[in-house]
């Protein structure tokens, strides 16, 4: 760790975090106060010190806006204090979502690469496929997800595959676009060099286009993995999903269990951050192995 890492990187992040938490607390007090006053009136607590009142607004079981510590303790409880097979365990739900995210991401990446290779090598595909691919992404996922789930359920395909398909649908696009760019990234002089060797198209592909496209692949994979997670969560929302972060989010809003809702949100964010970090790390390792210059 460099000596100035602390002041240059950690300090700003921590400062912003503290500001957010402070604002959150203030907002929680204000948003929960009306309901708390209502409760107090009914319970005949006529006068009380403001400090006690504030404390009560921050410890409601179903607050309008849960306080940070409520969310943290919920996340902690449901992550570390429960069996991972329990239906209340966040780890369990995160795992369910994660598995369809990863499956969808894998399909999406492979599909994206195949499409890109086709587009780069077959002129007809370049003109015919690209408009459709772009059009596919203008259809909102919220409209497609229920359709996919319902249609596949009708032919008895449920569980992981429909959700993974939605992730695939979201993740193939950035990969295809990034890889088309990457496979076309070699400079003219690098291509001319191959020509002077009378290299075959396959040799030019494997020895030039593919290595040149790797940085582009990883950049688009970072976008794709985040999109896959969104796809998996959205896929858990429409109907029938028994588990997963999407299911938790839905339950939370149905039953006004706002603390659970926020806990699920946190779980989703942590998962997203972890996935993007893993892809980023893989990118670094590959870059180093390919002689990348240390930054």
């Amino acid at each position: 760790m460099k000596p100035d890492t602390l002041t240059q990187r950690i300090l700003p992040v921590v400062t912003i975090l503290l500001v957010i938490v402070a604002v959150w607390y203030v907002a929680a007090v204000f948003m929960n106060a009306p309901f708390q006053r209502d409760l107090d009136r009914r319970a005949n607590i006529a006068t009380s010190k403001p400090v006690d009142f504030i404390e009560r607004t921050l410890s409601q079981p179903k607050p309008v806006l849960p306080a940070p510590h409520q969310v943290v303790s919920n996340v902690f409880e449901n992550t570390f204090l429960r069996r991972v097979t329990s239906n209340r365990s966040l780890v369990y739900h995160a795992w369910v979502t994660l598995s369809s995210t990863v499956a969808g991401f894998t399909f999406g990446t492979v599909l994206g690469i195949l499409i890109a290779v086709g587009i780069v090598h077959v002129k007809a595909l370049d003109r015919s496929l690209m408009p459709w691919i772009i059009a596919s992404q203008t259809v909102p996922i919220l409209a497609i997800a229920p359709m996919v789930i319902v249609v596949l359920a009708a032919v008895n395909i449920t569980g992981l595959i429909p959700k993974a398909l939605i992730s695939t649908y979201l993740s193939f696009f950035p990969v295809a676009v990034g890889m088309v760019k990457g496979l076309r990234s070699p400079e003219l002089i690098q291509l001319d060099l191959m020509r002077t060797y009378h290299a075959s198209a396959a040799q030019t592909f494997w020895k030039l286009r593919v290595p040149a496209s790797i940085p582009f692949l990883f950049t688009s994979m970072k976008v794709a993995i985040a999109a896959s997670l969104v796809g998996a969560i959205v896929g858990e929302m429409p109907t029938g999903a028994v588990a997963g972060i999407g299911r938790k989010l839905l339950d939370g809003s149905y039953y006004s269990q706002t603390i659970d809702l926020f806990a699920a949100l946190i779980a989703a964010s942590v998962l997203a951050a972890a996935l993007v970090t893993i892809v980023g790390l893989a990118a670094k390792i590959v870059d180093r192995a390919m002689g990348g210059r240390p930054a």
Partner: protein, 266 residues
């Protein structure tokens, strides 16, 4: 009395022309070029920017197609010559692949041409030694200076058995001292490998120092205005550049360039 075989034509151009059709109308990059390059020649092409030096080299290499006249390379069409891997091309930029180490870069043509692993290893070692880069094989291009990178790209062009070397301003981006040094090395290398070299340059001393034949070109349209056979001996220490003979040839090149109105037009 000489026992050497009759000089064999490596590049032979007759009334060669190339016109690029651009949006602003046709550009006559080459017109009416007649040239004979014999086996073992060191031919320099000199002339102002835009006179078609690169274009001519690219026609020889079949990276560009002539639109008029005829050209043969090793007695074949440029395309056949390229497909039989008759030449190595050194571009103005090193064009090393950044994800390959220096030795892997040199191995690239060898892999493509199907040399065995053992053969690749021995050729890499030999060419690295030839360009004085032994010990740098495991480095990546960014770890080398510009001059070393250019030498690596020369090694790459020397690694396979092509007896024609096409070099497009390989030392153009380097400073005078490095350039002198590389020129000296290139001459030694040429003597040792007995290759035929076509060499593009902007520098009169460089052209005179290196060549057995200097082709002076001028632009609009790109054409050959003079071909000067060098009378310098094969053995050329750097000091030869101060001899009257050297200066006389340099003067002739300079006059050739002036005769083409090449500098006045700029």
């Amino acid at each position: 009395m000489s026992l050497s075989p009759p000089p064999f034509s490596v590049v032979s151009a007759r009334k060669l022309g190339l016109t690029f059709e651009t949006n602003d109308g046709p550009v006559h990059a080459l017109s009416n070029v007649d040239l004979e390059v014999r086996k073992g020649d060191f031919v320099s092409f000199i002339g102002p920017s835009g006179c078609g030096k690169t274009t001519f080299l690219r026609v020889i290499a079949d990276l560009e197609k002539a639109t008029a006249g005829e050209i043969t390379v090793n007695g074949m069409t440029p395309e056949e010559a390229r497909k039989s891997r008759s030449y190595g091309y050194v571009f103005q930029a090193p064009a090393l692949y950044p994800w390959r180490t220096i030795e892997k870069n040199i191995a690239l043509p060898l892999e493509i041409m199907g040399y065995s692993a053992a053969e690749r290893r021995s050729r890499i070692e030999r060419t690295l030694d030839l360009v004085n880069l032994s010990g740098f094989g495991k480095k990546y291009p960014w770890q080398l200076s510009g001059g070393m990178q250019q030498r690596a790209s020369i090694a790459r062009a020397l690694a396979f058995d092509a007896d024609l070397l096409l070099m497009d301003e390989p030392f153009g981006a380097l400073d005078e001292i490095v350039r002198d040094h590389l020129n000296e090395q290139l001459l030694k290398l040429w003597a040792r490998t007995e290759k035929t070299i076509c060499f593009v340059t902007h520098s009169i001393p460089e052209a005179v120092y290196l060549s057995t034949k200097i082709v002076v070109m001028s632009p609009r349209p790109g054409r050959v205005t003079d071909v000067i056979e060098s009378t310098l001996p094969a053995e050329r220490p750097l000091e030869i550049r101060e001899t009257p003979e050297f200066l006389e040839i340099a003067q002739r090149v300079r006059e050739g360039l002036r005769a083409g109105h090449s500098y006045e037009e700029q």
